[in-house]
């Protein structure tokens, strides 16, 4: 009656999808900020404000899904360096979304685009490390018994 559990059936966390999507939007804001820096057309700064807002919404969803990952037992132990990188990027982006509510040039130059660049560096590192805040859950001993 023993159920066969293959090694490829190890549950994987779901949160990296949302972390990666949100990270992509936040990094795109550096591009739109730099377009505004070069041509001063307001629509680029408007894009930045929307991209950072969207990135933060996805970050929130990512955080909720992380909790879900634990509740469903899909996640291994937390990886503090990854968690720290992403938490810092999210915190800076909250500041950045407020900077981007300013009107005109100072919504981007100099502080907005600087924070966008810092966030992009943090996210590039987090992305290269796999957008994952937790280890993959190792199959418990005895599962295959």
């Amino acid at each position: 009656m023993a159920k066969l559990v293959g090694r490829h059936r190890t549950p994987r966390p779901l949160h990296p999808l949302f972390v990666g999507l949100g990270g992509a939007l936040l990094m795109a804001a550096l591009f739109t900020d730099s377009m505004y820096f070069s041509n001063a057309l307001m629509q680029w700064a408007n894009f930045s404000a929307w991209l950072i807002t969207g990135g933060l919404v996805l970050a929130l969803i990512g955080a909720l899904v992380l909790v879900l990952d634990y509740m469903l037992g899909r996640a291994g132990p937390i990886s503090w360096p990854d968690f720290g990188l992403l938490a810092l990027a999210a915190t800076l982006s909250i500041v950045n979304v407020f900077i981007h509510t300013r009107d005109g040039w100072t919504s981007v130059v100099p502080s907005g685009i600087t924070v966008s660049a810092l966030v992009t560096i943090l996210l590039l590192i987090a992305g290269l490390r796999g957008w994952c805040v937790t280890g993959v859950k190792a199959p418990a001993r005895g599962d295959n018994a």
Partner: protein
């Protein structure tokens, strides 16, 4: 450990950056007059905001007026009254209106709309003009009728040569109208278009007729706070137009005037004056609203600079040649008061201390803590120019605790008896301030 330190550091950054929003506004009296104190502009992560909750007037409550004067409600239950226009026969036209609404551009627009709505700024306007008939001049109208309905965010009005001109947000409409009439049945005809969409950020179109009635001056506000919607949609905005009353031909009379919320002619000289609202999110004391003579062909700085040559860093590309041309206004009213009403004293006013000068209705601030405005003031004039400290005339629109607001003054005017008429768009009331002699 490292991560903990990182997290501590990041929360410190947030605290440090948010700390800027605790800036308190200074003493408004430093910004009255021809040489106001202009602080450096300040950019915030979260700008200072304070919006009292609109609650309306309870039965029997009124604003406060100085001793010897009397205040009474002429009409209430109106729909966002903005402008009052007394006629020579004693009738008073009340323009009930609010903006047509704007489409959001940025996430911020959703939030700021909600914040301002708390102060009663989002209530639906009547889009009509109501006529109050007070034939015996006791301040108690014998009748209240809808003179003209189904307007499009009207604001300025003028009656010249048996014609009622209404400045809707997108056009001036002319209606045949003889004083004495209480209802207009004929449809209006369009005299000329006015700059409106897209966006139409500052929607009010203030209007006054020239002394000989041949021209109409129309104030058109900017399409943004400080050009953050792009300069291409600012064409013909932040300006005062001169419109030929018979042909509708128009030309720019003066420019660079961010939001000329009301216009009035100085008695005697016939010169054009305006109250103008300064920019937001530039600090609690930057920059002052003003009352000024408007020079023909004059450029007053917006968006490049304020109060003469104070450059606004938020505008890019900057234009030093335009900054150099910017005229300094006559008289600072202090910052964020939202001066919306302007009426010159005509001599026979409620009190001898108001013989020479102008009344200004201050709708009140949102972008400043402590609050500023929320009153009607009198600005004394000397040698034809505003001069001296303003005198509060109608006060206590704010409740004592400053957390709630019962009404907010907008348009002001003097009726044929010299009584001061005040439109209150949050209290939905028209107030009348009379002198002891005018009371019965």
């Amino acid at each position: 450990m490292t991560m903990k330190r990182l997290r501590t550091a990041s929360s410190l950054i947030v605290v440090a950056m948010l700390a800027g929003c605790n800036d308190k506004g200074g003493d408004p009296s430093k910004q009255y007059g021809s040489n106001p104190d202009i602080p450096e502009s300040h950019q915030y992560v979260i700008p200072p905001m304070s919006v009292p909750q609109a609650v309306g007037w309870k039965e029997g409550e009124t604003p406060t007026v100085p001793g010897g004067l009397r205040i009474q409600a002429m009409a209430n239950g109106l729909m966002h009254p903005r402008v009052v226009y007394p006629l020579s026969n004693g009738d008073i036209l009340v323009v009930e209106s609010n903006g047509p609404g704007t489409k959001p551009f940025r996430p911020k627009d959703y939030i700021s709309g909600l914040i301002k709505a708390r102060g009663g700024s989002a209530d639906k306007g009547g889009n009509r003009i109501t006529l109050l008939r007070d034939a015996d001049g006791d301040g108690v109208p014998e009748s209240k009728t809808v003179l003209v309905d189904h307007l499009h965010s009207p604001y300025g009005v003028a009656v010249v040569a048996d014609t009622l001109y209404v400045a809707n947000t997108d056009a001036i409409i002319a209606y045949p109208f003889k004083p004495g009439q209480t209802e207009i049945k004929e449809p209006g005809t369009k005299l000329t278009d006015l700059p409106a969409g897209p966006i139409n950020h500052h929607w009010t179109k203030s209007m006054v007729a020239s002394p000989d009635g041949s021209k109409l001056y129309v104030g058109v506000g900017s399409n943004s706070n400080v050009a953050e919607n792009g300069l291409d949609i600012e064409e013909d905005r932040a300006a005062i137009f001169e419109v030929d009353r018979l042909t509708g031909a128009k030309r720019l009379y003066a420019t660079g005037i961010r939001n000329p919320t009301n216009l009035a002619l100085q008695p005697g000289t016939g010169q054009l004056f305006a109250v103008v609202n300064g920019r937001d999110e530039n600090g609690p004391d930057a920059d002052p609203d003003y009352l000024s003579l408007i020079k023909e062909g004059g450029f007053y700085g917006w968006p490049y600079s304020y109060w003469g040559q104070h450059v606004d860093d938020r505008v890019q590309p900057q234009k030093p040649d335009m900054v150099a041309k910017a005229i300094k206004p006559d008289y600072g009213l202090s910052s964020h008061v939202a001066a919306l009403g302007l009426a010159f004293s005509q001599g026979q006013t409620v009190s001898p201390q108001f013989t020479t000068g102008a009344f200004v209705g201050e709708h009140g601030s949102w972008n400043r803590d402590p609050l500023n405005g929320y009153q009607v003031i009198f600005v004394p004039f000397a040698d034809g120019r505003p001069n001296g400290a303003p005198i509060p005339v109608v006060t206590d629109f704010l409740a004592q605790d400053k957390k709630t607001v019962r009404g907010r003054p907008v348009g002001v005017a003097l009726d044929r008896t010299g009584s001061l008429i005040v439109a209150d768009d949050v209290g939905n009331t028209v107030w009348r301030v009379s002198g002891a002699a005018a009371t019965h």
